[in-house]
Symmetry: C2
């Protein structure tokens, strides 16, 4: 049944459908509410009496009265004794314009993206089913903000075995990835009076400045050379914490030299400082065994942050923070403030993935895949005489080009190839030399070959 509500102008139609399971009252209420929300019924407008509307619509007067009462309780209608029911003061909003989606780039050498197509979907579903079946009811409540005790146990053992960490489940916090791990760590440091934070340069650049601003700390850039972060330069700053990527420096790809590791630990002891280790992609090392985490050397000084964003996919949103004793409670408190703890079922799912050996198997399967893509990139660039460095681990590399990187990036984009420059990772964007940071994790060998073939001629001009 569809009735034109003439008393309120011809534009408002009340449509009641007697053939659905939706009660008539719900239909009427929803129609009126939407009419008010969208401005079709204007502020102050008088509604027909319940008797009048009931008769027009062929429904009971009680139903209209109930509807008016509901909308009055919600604040959409006002009724004074002896006076008509009117539309109350409400606001209308035009619908928002959807943000334009980021244009998809044909061949995108963006770094930091693993092979999304090889995410072990079936293993994840299997582990989720196992987790859902076996989780005790009590674990479906809010839990320990540090995370599932079971996952912390399993991860600590994994990190001891695979990353040489001195990981203790009592001093771990399960985060939803590196960003959150860093954010809660910086807040915990700020709460402990540590407000000057050194970052590698090149490194996270803008991201580190923003992360520090959010936590009430200040970022200080410290240069990186072929042995990793310059510890003497670090020592000359007022920083009492440093964020770094020892196993495979982001973005240069250098490995922190043994003497630098020692010097860094000594610096931390001397300055009563904290080392924040971003262990982001060491699972994928090609030339030799991955270098163990710095945290194992100085568990009293190092916060080790990791994530499954590279080993699985970013959409899983799980990571960990291994804390020194003096920071563990403060980091847990910040995690609690941030979100009360990571998703419980996801945590148990990851624990099952690791315990069952499926996580290791996935890593074993992916290593040769990435190694082949790495070789494809090196060979494709060699065709154009371009040297590549920083390839010890992970799935990005640094290409040393002669042409201006900004010009190359712009011209490549016209060919539908996404290239990214080192300067975006530097505190001083004007710094040289001209370098590209090329991710190859989510590109097939053919895509790599074709992409470089398309733009390689630009590198030298």
């Amino acid at each position: 049944m569809s009735v034109e509500w003439s008393g309120l102008g011809p534009e408002l139609l009340v449509k009641l459908d007697r053939d659905t399971t939706t009660p008539l009252k719900t239909q009427l209420e929803s129609t009126l509410r939407t009419a008010i929300q969208t401005g079709r019924l204007g502020v102050g407008e008088r509604l027909p009496s319940s008797r009048e509307l009931a008769s027009t619509l062929g429904i009971s007067r009680g139903l209209v009265q109930d509807t008016y009462a509901q909308l009055q309780a919600e604040g959409y209608l006002t009724t004074r004794v002896g006076s008509a029911t009117r539309v109350a003061n409400t606001a209308q909003l035009p619908p928002a314009t959807p943000r334009p989606a980021k244009p998809r780039i044909g061949t995108d050498f963006a770094a930091g993206v693993p092979d999304l197509a090889n995410f072990p979907r079936n293993d994840w579903v299997w582990a989720m089913r196992e987790a859902c079946r076996s989780v005790p009811n009590a674990m479906l409540d809010y839990g320990d903000p540090r995370g599932s005790p079971q996952l912390r146990e399993v991860l600590a053992a994994y990190l001891r075995r695979v990353r040489g960490a001195a990981a203790d489940p009592e001093r771990m916090v399960i985060s939803t990835g590196f960003s959150q791990g860093l954010a809660v760590t910086l807040r915990a440091l700020a709460a402990n009076g540590i407000t000057k934070i050194a970052f590698e340069d090149p490194g996270y650049a803008d991201t580190s400045v923003a992360a520090c601003a959010q936590s009430g700390t200040t970022a200080i850039a410290v240069p990186v050379d072929e042995d990793g972060i310059d510890v003497d330069a670090l020592d000359a700053t007022p920083a009492r914490a440093v964020v770094l990527t020892p196993a495979h420096q982001w973005p240069t790809g250098v490995v922190l030299a043994p003497q630098r590791r020692q010097a860094l630990v000594e610096w931390a002891a001397r300055k009563d400082a904290v080392i924040i280790e971003d262990d982001y992609d060491a699972e994928f090392r090609y030339d030799r065994e991955p270098v163990g985490v710095l945290q194992g050397l100085a568990p009293d000084r190092v916060v080790a942050i990791g994530t499954v964003s590279k080993s699985l996919v970013p959409a899983v949103r799980l990571g960990w923070v291994v804390c020194p004793p003096g920071l563990a409670d403060a980091v847990a408190e910040q995690k609690s403030f941030s979100d009360r703890g990571s998703p419980g079922l996801d945590q148990l799912t990851l624990a099952r993935m690791i315990e069952s050996g499926r996580f290791d198997r996935h890593l074993r399967r992916m290593r040769p895949v990435y190694a082949q893509r790495r070789t494809a990139l090196v060979e494709a660039l060699a065709n154009f005489g371009i040297e590549v460095t920083g390839l010890a681990a992970g799935f990005h590399a640094v290409a040393h080009i002669r042409a201006d990187e900004h010009a190359v990036i712009e011209m490549a984009r016209e060919q539908d190839v996404g290239l990214y420059g080192m300067s975006a990772q530097r505190s001083n964007r004007a710094a040289t030399p001209s370098q590209l940071v090329l991710g190859f994790g989510n590109l097939t060998e053919r895509a790599i070959q074709a992409g470089i073939a398309k733009v390689g001629h630009l590198f030298d001009t």
Copy 2:
């Protein structure tokens, strides 16, 4: 094979197992690393030469050399030309003492916990499998920090239909629950210069003070009476934002009266202020249809925050923030700073739960379950002459007792019954009257009856 390493004292055993798939080098390396990490090999201690150790263990010298090189690269060993290999400067930590687990209370009337045993595990696994099967690879990457476009679409429709919201997916952010939703909203307000935030009293009390401190804002307590928050009292404060629970006030259970709704919206317009609506349990209303969200009345002024922590379980960790146009970008930015976005697969899983009708079905199934528990509580308390209020929705109620609430709580705990007082939710803990806030969502009818039977005699003494 198990060899006692006599040169380093009898306590260190190197055990190499030739029958596992773990390479001998990995075994040796891990043994030495752990020995250094635990202090069994002390700082400065000299290691045997590679020739010597190889001969003792019956393995190749190259293998020992590789192991030493790896541990040197990691910073555990130092080698100078012409000098022995020694243990470098590392720190050891004693294992942390596990935190004592919270004691389980026999019958716990803690509020805010839904029926954990009735979580639709099979539906969730089904929806997760569907999500994992159908998710495009590109959606496994970091996504829009606002959350999955699909879930925002589905949730906006749900909130329009069920909660009378004026929800626009472009102005929604998917959070990991109310805590995070509030945290990112407060930070977004602070970034917009709004730093005085009113909260209901009784209300979140300590939690709101802490949440404000974390975001650089200040909490101001505003009294609640039987019609909800006192808008005149609010108007007298310098607050330019207010956090409230209109559909079912936490913890008193009153419903915000229609004239207060209008007054609040007018206050917000006059003061250019923001209303933060915590729509936490209105899905479960017993006496009539739930009151629609305030957000529908004034979408230009209201931030509506919701979560599935009550409708499903807290461990799912998903929620939403429906933003006014002026705040949508700032909230999305804060969400990005906080964790770069909520878990992708979980979001698609919830979308499938809602789209498939399984979410509604679960709510339909739970309403009579909670209604029966509610009746059981009211009747059990009536046996002791105790009046109960605040029962319009959700699964907690306020019991008005004559005895001192603190004394009652303490004595009940001795009987293994968990009771909770209103004073913990007040800004002034000494305020009266004596009231208990009793949750009944996660207790069976029998548990409710038995629990109250045990402690009911305390309420009057």
